[in-house]
């Protein structure tokens, strides 16, 4: 029953590839990952996309906790870890074992940076995520504070959200100012993570195309030995498991 235990410290043994992006809100990482996905799929590679805090069960709980403002740094951290664990099991491991390319928007590093800023122990949060599969490539989109704020305020998201701005930390009553303070602390955590985990730093102030070209070049170099799995043409995988009903317990 006991499977060999993978830890975050070692590379994974699966035929697939795991590529993740990190960066603060407004760094453009999601755009870059989307463009990378388009490019990979255009080459008929099998790609699976997963994003931070997206499992239905946990997202609902996080939403409730945020609404009642009852989340503590530790429950905030544990909820995200639960979401991550669930996605690791249902969304990340199966396609990797099947030999697909898995793209993840945010990964454990988001937790390492954010949770440390919120005040949990840095050692603890690393131990917490020890079950995570180590990515084959981890991109960090580095952007100065001001550019990130401009992008967020002027762009798709008109308002800064309560937790995104770290308003729960009581840094400032003003949302923009709180966002600035909170995200700049996260930036300095990311800088430490770049060294600790060898993240690939991307200059996120450059043009979208320039960044994407650079990213594609690095990814093709990393995929040299990758043996793609070609399944049914044109089908994009989305579900690897189905819910089933079991008896309710106490």
């Amino acid at each position: 029953m006991t499977a060999p235990i993978l830890t975050f410290a070692q590379p994974h043994p699966f035929p697939g590839k795991l590529i993740i992006v990190e960066g603060i809100d407004g760094s453009g990482k999601s755009t870059q990952l989307l463009l990378l996905q388009k490019w990979l799929e255009a080459q008929e590679l099998k790609v699976f996309f997963t994003e931070w805090n997206s499992s239905a069960l946990v997202r609902e709980t996080t939403r409730r906790g945020k609404k009642s403002k009852s989340l503590t740094p530790t429950t905030f951290s544990l909820l995200h870890a639960t979401d991550f664990a669930s996605r690791m099991y249902h969304e990340i491991t199966p396609p990797l074992k099947a030999g697909m390319i898995v793209l993840a928007d945010r990964y454990t590093y988001t937790a390492f940076a954010r949770d440390a800023v919120r005040g949990v122990s840095r050692e603890w949060v690393r131990k917490l995520y020890n079950f995570a599969i180590r990515p084959d490539m981890a991109f960090y989109f580095k952007v100065p504070m001001e550019i990130a704020i401009d992008r967020l305020l002027g762009g798709t998201r008109a308002q800064l959200k309560y937790y995104e701005a770290g308003m729960d930390m009581g840094l400032s009553q003003d949302v923009s100012e709180s966002f600035r303070l909170f995200q700049s602390r996260i930036l300095s955590e990311y800088d430490k993570l770049v060294d600790e985990y060898g993240l690939i730093t991307m200059d996120a102030t450059q043009d979208i195309e320039t960044q994407q070209n650079q990213m594609r070049r690095l990814v093709s170099e990393a995929l040299v030995n990758y043996k793609p799995k070609r399944g049914t043409h044109g089908k994009r995988a989305s579900v690897f498991w189905r819910r089933f009903a079991v008896r309710e317990s106490e």
Partner: protein, 257 residues
């Protein structure tokens, strides 16, 4: 005041434990050993003596109780999410109930504590390391009473009362061909884990096969000694020069069962 509370592991860097005046008492044991009944009687007994008491129970947090119910209905299958859901529930109760109550000088009676989660995860994974680190933020209880039972007595008792259920049988692990076999295997492994932890973490082991009155009596005799500190302190308050009223020994009074 000789009442130092410590973290189990890495701890919560943003919470100082030095001013926790209350006592944290955990009642552990597998499913169906009668923990909640005994906790009710203990609460009554302590309140009669003038202690403020709050009880807290597994999966009862505001944040998580609904989520865990949903998860048990088949949305979560893996060991990590399973354990992390319990850890989140526990953290919510720790920060919102247990620590504030201890700070205000309450006695906290916990129906199950982290050891339940440690046992369940160890049985599911065969590894004890990760889960212990996850629960590093827990406060070490002043006392852990472990209601110990053998698996045959437990099986009879559970069938007689509420019946064997899916999760108490560890059916997610498919240990046996049917509910009963699975229940026995799962509970045997859990009891083994609890027995190991009883030594490692110095639980007070209480034989849960005895009649309820005797169990309650044993629980009270284990709890009484850790209360005397706080009682003596309350006596230090200057009193008018009258003879002290004779206080009945609470241990010797028979429990109302």
């Amino acid at each position: 005041m000789g009442n130092v509370h410590q973290y189990f592991g890495d701890g919560l860097p943003y919470v100082n434990l030095s001013d926790l005046k209350g006592k944290l008492i955990a009642i552990e044991g597998t499913d169906g050993v009668g923990r909640s009944t005994h906790i009710e009687f203990l609460q009554e007994w302590l309140e009669v003596q003038g202690y403020g008491v709050i009880t807290t129970g597994w999966t009862r947090s505001n944040l998580m109780s609904k989520t865990i119910e949903m998860a048990k209905q088949g949305n979560i299958l893996d060991r990590w999410s399973f354990s992390l859901l319990y850890a989140t529930d526990f953290a919510d109760r720790l920060e919102h109930q247990i620590i504030p109550a201890l700070r205000s000088g309450f006695i906290v009676l916990a129906d199950r504590y982290i050891y339940t989660a440690l046992a369940r995860d160890a049985v599911r994974s065969g590894n004890r390391d990760w889960i212990r680190k996850v629960f590093g933020f827990a406060v070490i209880p002043d006392l852990v009473c472990y209601l110990r039972i053998d698996v045959d007595t437990l099986a009879l008792r559970v069938i007689e009362t509420k019946g064997i259920n899916y999760w108490e049988s560890g059916m997610d692990l498919r240990l046996g061909g049917d509910l009963f076999d699975s229940f026995k295997k799962y509970q045997t492994s859990l009891i083994e884990e609890f027995d190991k932890m009883a030594e490692e973490f110095q639980f007070e082991v209480i034989d849960a096969r005895k009649p309820p009155e005797e169990i309650q009596h044993s629980l009270r005799s284990k709890i009484q000694p850790i209360l005397t500190n706080s009682r003596r302190q309350s006596i230090v308050v200057p009193q008018p020069k009258t003879a002290e009223p004779p206080t009945p020994d609470p241990v010797s009074t028979s429990p109302k069962l």
